[in-house]
Subunit: 512 residues, 2 copies
């Protein structure tokens, strides 16, 4: 089954002769993956997902099922892989257990129907938990890379995610060498090899966003590499849409807050502190507002770099950006490639274990800005479960940053689905970030600074500053009646109607 | 108001002449504390609470109130101070804002009645948040110490807590020199002065429990020291009661789990990994079982050291124990003093910022064992709010250890109040530790290892292994009906009866 020498490489990206002999087709490579295997693949924010082996695996699973046999795998990733990948494997019922993050509708439905196991954990915990053996043996790693050096080291692709760990722990390794990834990206990555399991861990000597503490390539034991598959496929990130009024209003409140904190002497005036922002319209609007805020030489320590960051880096608003994935559109990739020598000095990609590491996030004092589904009047945040039961995506890295950052902000429009859902509710039916970890809540209506406030004071502020005006009277009414009970407690609630908003939505289609 | 030279020191503990001139009575010293001041005092797990100034302050507040004037302070501590201290200040309505932890019934009632603001935050976050200015200016620090060196450095008392930070940030400092604290404790402490605010933070170079990275004393600017008060008062920790059958059963499951993890190659056989255990009967039973487990040379990286630890250290079961407080009974103090040269080699007290630091807890791979009020069938844990509304104590350091430890365990008897309260419920009405942070739940009935399990699988395990048999049918019934709904979701719930157990208890006095 090993490839014949007749299939020589097409791309010139495989500079090691030992690896060149292992080139084969994806269809051949998936022959090494067996039912019940735990398969760990590359991919974070869609970027760097294997392009060929997973579709071939889905096809093999489909064929196997057609013969009446069962074929499922446990699938581990960095974070979200491309929708196409998630969908293909889900449609053939190919996944028994999925970990640690997904963001695709087919998978989501299957998980919510109880037909696919999904474990939703902090992204900074994934590598260590797999290494510690919490998920059993990893049978096969499938990792996209940009090339292989003469010495057999691997040049990372557009994301790093957990690839270092997958290559280390897997019994067998399948490499996808993707010639679409600009060869010029070589040198952007910083792969840290200093992690260990306790009791052998040592301090991670990173003190600034721009520090390089590792090496630009992955190591792999060549004996474990059973196949090398050549591909040429784009990552497929879509260009960002221009931000809307709601996102811009949220961004405005965030920028006002930064200015306020600078005036209070709690943030450095020019450079603030390293910024972390989630993905999407709101995060994009916040980042987009930074250059209008007159900031220069900012830093970002985050998970994913999107197109908007390139502009900020180019105009000097952001001096250094660190992440684990470059989720760029085709235009973004072109811009990156055309000015790669410039961007390589300002952008670093790291393993997600480092991009999200509690030790580093706390040390750097990251300003954490994450989206949410909803917050309650006391500051508990639901990031994952619609109406408390149905998973949306997953907690991702939000907890890594919110718990350990200098200040922890959650941003959301005040309503969803045409105003039928309020993002501020009496009690959230699922908690991903507790009251102890939420310091600032922002909607288009305003910002609630919860630092140093007891729960009852938080309630007033969140309702008045953040809730949509239409929902404020209902929220005030709930709080007032809860507070009026004898011995109402530190955190007054009416247990019988704490989920009244949600139940009303489920019954009538609106929280109103 | 400064003391005359006639009141010379009685204890001989004040070896610096400059400080000796500042000796005065507690009644005189509290003249420096003004209404609306923020007062930061020493005290952690009761240990090292100031003995004289706080009672004098309470008396002064009482007298001021008698004249019709208002007098409240904001009170910051390490964690819990002695009950007497908490009670005295609460009874005179002396506290406007309390932070970060209390464990006393008078204060608890006032907080729950909405008559005292209480902010309940992670203990590792306190020092940095105060330093960052989230609580405004600290006007006065009142810190108990064991003595003052010739050079004006301060020898810590039986706890360190946040004292380093209080001494650094307060405008004025009142020192209580307590001659009850054995002078021989000098040298046990390791006060780390390497912390900073971002962007100036650097790695904390601690890699083993026994590492010393600081100095044995506190520094203080002598110009800020406005008073030195001499005291001779015991901390007042009570001797531990022998553990009961329930605690011993829980301990047995924990020890079995350790053995299981060792066999699976996930824990080092002889020394395991550093242990953290909360306070109380269950923690005591777990620690008490360690020497029967045949372990030698274990380490503990925790908050509080109680009497039981001395025995483990003495017989070699524990080689090194690190904490921020020594909450010993009178007998414990005698044992410590009689063998101080031995114990000083095996016990280290650190600032709580370091004892609970996410960076260190993760690096060391701490085995985190904390108590809880209740857990739900999906692994969300309530540590703080009885029936979701009334604060008990506070989150303390449990989140610091649970989030960042190697394995995160929550331990509790399966029922409380004569069986009328189940510690396993359909949904917890307050979440302090999310499903993402809970890996193992233990009651006297068994242990649920939740690692790598999706929520529905967790539910089966928690109900079967941990719930009291009497409550299992009700919990199974809830889960079964929740799961049977169309599109039940990743985490099935019936929002209308998620708190049915709690509502039943509130209405009938029993969850049954």
């Amino acid at each position: 089954m090993i490839s014949s020498s007749s299939r020589s490489q097409a791309s010139g990206r495989i500079r090691s002769a030992a690896f060149a002999t292992k080139v084969m087709s994806a269809e051949e490579a998936v022959g090494f993956i067996h039912p019940a295997d735990t398969v760990a693949i590359s991919g974070f924010g869609g970027a760097g997902t294997p392009k060929a082996v997973v579709p071939a695996l889905a096809e093999r699973i489909r064929e196997t099922r057609a013969t009446g046999s069962n074929f499922t795998i446990n699938l581990l990733t960095g974070a979200s892989v491309t929708s196409q990948t998630e969908k293909l494997l889900t449609e053939v019922d190919g996944i028994a257990l999925r970990m640690p993050y997904q963001a695709e509708s087919t998978a989501r439905k299957k998980i919510n129907d109880g037909r696919m196991d999904y474990v939703d954990i902090h992204l900074s915990h994934v590598a260590q938990q797999v290494w510690e053996g919490y998920y059993g043996k990893v049978d096969v790693a499938v990792v996209e890379i940009a090339g292989i050096t003469e010495d057999g080291e691997l040049i990372p692709s557009s994301s790093i995610g957990n690839n270092k760990t997958w290559l280390d722990v897997a019994d067998k390794v399948i490499l996808e060498v993707n010639s679409w990834v600009p060869a010029e990206m070589e040198g952007m990555h910083d792969v840290y090899y200093g992690t260990a399991l306790p009791p052998n861990r040592t301090p991670i000597q990173l003190t600034r966003v721009e520090d390089r503490i590792g090496q630009p390539t992955f190591r792999v034991d060549p004996a474990k590499v059973i196949a090398v598959v050549e591909t040429h496929g784009r990552d497929g990130a879509n260009p960002l849409t221009p931000s809307d009024g709601v996102s811009q209003a949220i961004a405005g409140h965030v920028l006002d807050f930064f200015a306020h904190e600078v005036r209070a002497g709690r943030l450095p005036a020019d450079s603030l502190l390293p910024l972390q922002a989630g993905i999407g319209n709101v995060a994009n609007a916040v980042l987009g507002g930074l250059d209008r805020g007159g900031y220069k030489g900012l830093t970002c320590y985050s998970e994913v770099i999107q197109d908007s960051m390139l502009r900020l880096v180019k105009d000097g608003t952001v001096a250094h950006a660190s992440a684990t994935a470059l989720a760029l559109s085709e235009e973004g990739i072109e811009e990156l490639t055309a000015n790669i020598d410039f961007y390589r000095e300002h952008i670093i990609l790291r393993p997600q274990e480092i991009s999200n590491h509690p030790e580093i996030v706390r040390r750097l004092g990251v300003i954490a800005m994450n989206g949410m589904l909803e917050a309650d009047i006391y500051g508990n945040v639901n990031s994952t479960h619609v109406m408390g039961t149905k998973i949306m995506n997953g907690i991702g890295g939000s907890g890594d940053f919110a718990r350990n950052g200098y200040v922890s902000m959650f941003l959301s429009p005040s309503t969803a689905r045409g105003g039928t859902i309020s993002a501020i509710v009496p009690m959230v039916p699922h908690v991903d970030h507790t009251e102890h970890d939420t310091q600032v809540i922002v909607t288009e209506h305003g910002l609630a600074d919860l630092r140093g406030l007891s729960p009852r004071r938080r309630a007033h502020l969140i309702i008045e500053n953040c809730a949509h005006p239409e929902y404020r009277p209902m929220l005030h009414d709930y709080f007032k009646r809860a507070e009026a009970q004898p011995g109402a407690g530190q955190t007054p609630h009416l247990l019988g109607e704490a989920f009244g908003f949600h139940q009303r939505y489920l019954e009538t289609g609106s929280m109103r």
